[in-house]
């Protein structure tokens, strides 16, 4: 069974850990990772979502915070601050720095990001094939109004520095229109038996991946079940501040609205949490098969809950397939 997953950061990574447990032994999992969160810091190329997936599946993640490395120190960052070099709001640890140093060096040597990611994964052995959505530079910018003036900030500045404390007026994946899917992305989609959207952010994670020309179309035309899991439980995002960016694209913050946002042209099945059982009918009325199951990844480290969610997603995919 060939499974393709469109993944953002923490939510996607934890779901993937569950999926690795839940999928048949001979399953081949290809992860198309969001790179819209990528940022250049201190002259280094940082890919937060790719790294979160790689570290989580490779056993190097800081479980408590969900991102960054375990057993981490922050001496490089301390020293950069002592030199007056920021930003200080972005938490890069010493071990994490090494990843960015290797990546930057390989990029400077001419390797595309997809080749670099493959090389980094040779160490981490995540058990999935991790491909960045694109080798081209795409940066998600968020338009915000500050002191009566509209300005665009990098997604990381909005998310990490401002903690989404102001409303997002618009979310723009800058560079996406000119970007091409990375080698292997369209091929994996075309050969997939199932395509999954984990409970990642529908705007700045899955949405950004879908904004790369060709990816949305390839998924819609793949002719295989496409099943998603709601990142919204009981009208609130499970993690992060998805409601802020949903509002920016005119989508209500509830499990049904997100499914409708993806649309029946793309999505065949949708899992909502049991507390949202009430929206099942609404989603199905939109032409998307819907089930209510527990969607809280309460035990990230063991991944039992995530594995159960993945099992439900694969089950729903089979229901859709035979329907």
């Amino acid at each position: 069974m060939r499974i393709v997953v469109l993944a953002g950061g923490i939510g996607g990574a934890r779901f993937l850990r569950g999926l690795k447990q839940a999928a048949p032994d001979d399953a081949v999992i290809t992860v198309i990772g969001n790179t819209g969160d990528d940022i250049h810091l201190f002259g280094l190329k940082v890919c937060p979502d790719l790294d979160t997936v790689m570290y989580t599946l490779g056993g190097g993640i800081n479980e408590e915070q969900g991102w960054g490395r375990t057993d981490e120190t922050f001496h490089v960052k301390e020293e950069l601050a002592a030199y007056g070099v920021g930003p200080e709001w972005f938490g890069l640890g010493d071990r994490d720095f090494a990843t960015h140093i290797v990546r930057t060096q390989m990029l400077a040597a001419g390797y595309p990001l997809s080749a670099v990611t493959e090389a980094l994964c040779e160490r981490w052995k995540p058990g999935v094939k991790l491909i960045p959505m694109s080798d081209d530079r795409i940066e998600t910018h968020v338009a915000v109004d500050v002191d009566g003036e509209r300005k665009a900030v990098h997604f990381q500045e909005y998310w990490v520095k401002l903690r989404a404390s102001v409303d997002a007026q618009a979310v723009v994946p800058v560079g996406a229109e000119q970007a091409k899917p990375a080698p292997g992305v369209l091929e994996a989609i075309a050969e997939a038996d199932v395509i999954l959207f984990p409970p990642s952010n529908p705007v700045v994670s899955v949405g950004t991946i879908l904004a790369v020309p060709g990816i949305r179309e390839a998924i819609a035309e793949a002719g295989v079940p496409v099943v998603g899991l709601s990142p919204i439980i009981g009208d609130a995002p499970v993690r992060g501040m998805a409601d802020k960016v949903l509002a920016a694209v005119g989508v209500e913050s509830n499990a049904a609205a997100v499914a409708e946002h993806y649309g029946s042209g793309l999505l065949d099945g949708w899992l909502v949490d049991t507390v949202d059982a009430g929206v099942v009918e609404r989603v199905e009325a939109a032409g998307i098969r819907c089930r209510a199951v527990p969607l809280l990844m309460t035990d990230p480290e063991e991944g039992t809950a995530a594995a159960e969610m993945a099992r439900e997603a694969l089950k729903l995919a089979e229901e859709v397939r035979v329907a």
Copy 2:
């Protein structure tokens, strides 16, 4: 009193700490730092000698080893090794990495090394004006015979990786011929009241600085006392493997031969250690005033011995001046 010092790494830095104690309160010390040891590692520009001076005078040095940062960890390096990215033989600590990251970022932004060094020193406040010998890239290469074949290796590879275990056949400051002294270097020499050569390596430290076109001539023509301190005590280098590189340039490893190597056209005064009192006559016969005084910097942290050495050097400079 304006003092100009041509400095390498550990020996130069420790001498400078003593000089700061010994010099008159109104003394202005300009240090022309060797950059021939500079190396690009992991895509970062590393300047070992400049950093050793900066950390030593700024209170950040690892006193025991004489280079690198105090209170250091090595997590970045561990992780780079886990990625299979070397070299592993060069000991870059986490705190040290920050310096190289800031430097590389500023160089990439277009600042010359001299401006970058000035910016880094704003943090460290070394109490001297530290100027790299040149903003141009100069790399000391060492020719060695390995398995019957001659090859050139970077100085750091010879010194740190091979630990000078094979004979140096030649020492070449690659790029020196085309290099220009950094802004401020010739001006400082022209305005100097005294010029000092600390007990740094006469070939790969002081020698490399003198290889930058214009510097040797400016010193010879400055018309002020030029006094050096022997890095060789009792026919052996105090630190490092100076004898290896001296042999490569055809100079015996003893205190007199080094003075003769600099020559009376450049050097006016020379301090040798008391154990080498026997060579004083030979050095003076070469037209260089010579004194035997204790030259072991036995208490690097307090710097009392180094201060006494600096006092002797300044005293010899005055003797030369009135002579």
